[in-house]
Amino acid sequence: MKHEIGFTLNGVQRRATVDARMSALEMLRDVIGLTGTKYGCGEGECGACTIIVDGASVNSCLLFALDCDGREVTTVEGLAGDARAQALHKAFVARGAVQCGFCTPGMMIQATHLLATHPHPDADAAKRAIEGNLCRCTGYQKIVEAIVEAGETLQSGDAT
């Protein structure tokens, strides 16, 4: 049984035909062809598939594709013009917070969501925010540093 849904994806109206049991992650990767959002565990444990829906970060593997109907969805591909994501991008590179890179899209989305709600997080707040995002390479230290640094960069940018 297929259904057609319509939603805003990275600022652009999209339509997609989806199965009732399809996850938003499968729709994004296999139906629409945006593969920046990663499949890690498929059960909400790893955060590699994190997307933002109506302003809140969620695991796209646990979201029914049907439930995207009428909503506003942002994936890592949609962060290119986002000032917070740009600050995070620079800080991730500067701090060496990327090794294999598989967790990075989820980390970027979740950290962007954190900075949108808590513009100047300390290390504890950054750790708490990414508690649902697993990284098997860098061991979090550099990722946490990068998130804190991006917050500081944005704050100093705001001040000038």
């Binding site: 049984m1 996850s23 955060g47 809140a56 707040a125 995002n133």
Partner: protein, 319 residues
Amino acid sequence: MSGSDAFERYLAPASLAQALAALAGEGGATVLAGGTDLMPQTRAGRVRPARTLLNIRRVSGLDGVEVEGGLLRIGTLATVATLLTHALVREHAPLLTQAADHFASDQIRNAATIGGNICNASPAGDLLTALLALDAEVELAWLAVDGAVRTRVHPIDDFFTGPGRTRREANELLTAVRVPLALREQQVRFYKTGTRPALDISTISIAFAARLDGGGRLHGVRLALGAVAPTPLRARRTEAMLEGLALDAALAARAADCAAGEAAPIDDVRATAWYRKELLHNMTLRMLDDVAETAGPPQGRKLPLWGTARSAKGGPHEA
């Protein structure tokens, strides 16, 4: 009845009456709210799909949090993130805020709903012990034959009948949860143990609520235990043992023994039954020691917005 392993139709109605009609319709309906449990359960074949997949997220008026007639009324679609951050929840049901602070991850808290957590009826559901300790009630709605929406209220204490099973009838929708407003002298505690603070399913959880009088005596004691029986349960013998008394070391020790005796845990991948009883004994003791030491109001300890009060290490931690 649907013999298929797939949903035959999908509905996302805007009104409660339409949703209830779908539940009462031929072949029934599987209710979708946040989806964080339903998606993996459907994938694993643990939920047999009804004929209709019923998304209730478009039904208006089901996500509000309000104070009404001496009760905090939380709509079924309120997310766990809402419980964690909403000022009315923090003021009137701080135990729910504490439980939400131990719940999964930000991504899951942003999607998972209080109604879903209740209807999923996991013995380890993090909100369920808190709701038991708060004497919560659930509101259930159904469509009468005359087409009118009827509601009934059921105590949560009697709502869970087994793992994944509740007293909700197939034609009913859980629409809201009601919690009596916390009194100033109420002490509440939520303890959860797991291998790490985030995302782990509870090995055990404990929720406690009691009023503390000027003499340090406990009144209206509620102690609820999670992940130690087929349903979350009230430790009634322990509650009775503590009622009306001031805590001292001997009483706390007896109560911890009693609580461990009231549990009926199983061996599973997360812990053995023996270990769960040990945990329950020791965590109850620690929790009661903490209650005895804290004579101040429960609001005295502030939870950070995204919580940093939880232990960064695995094992026992409190909000």
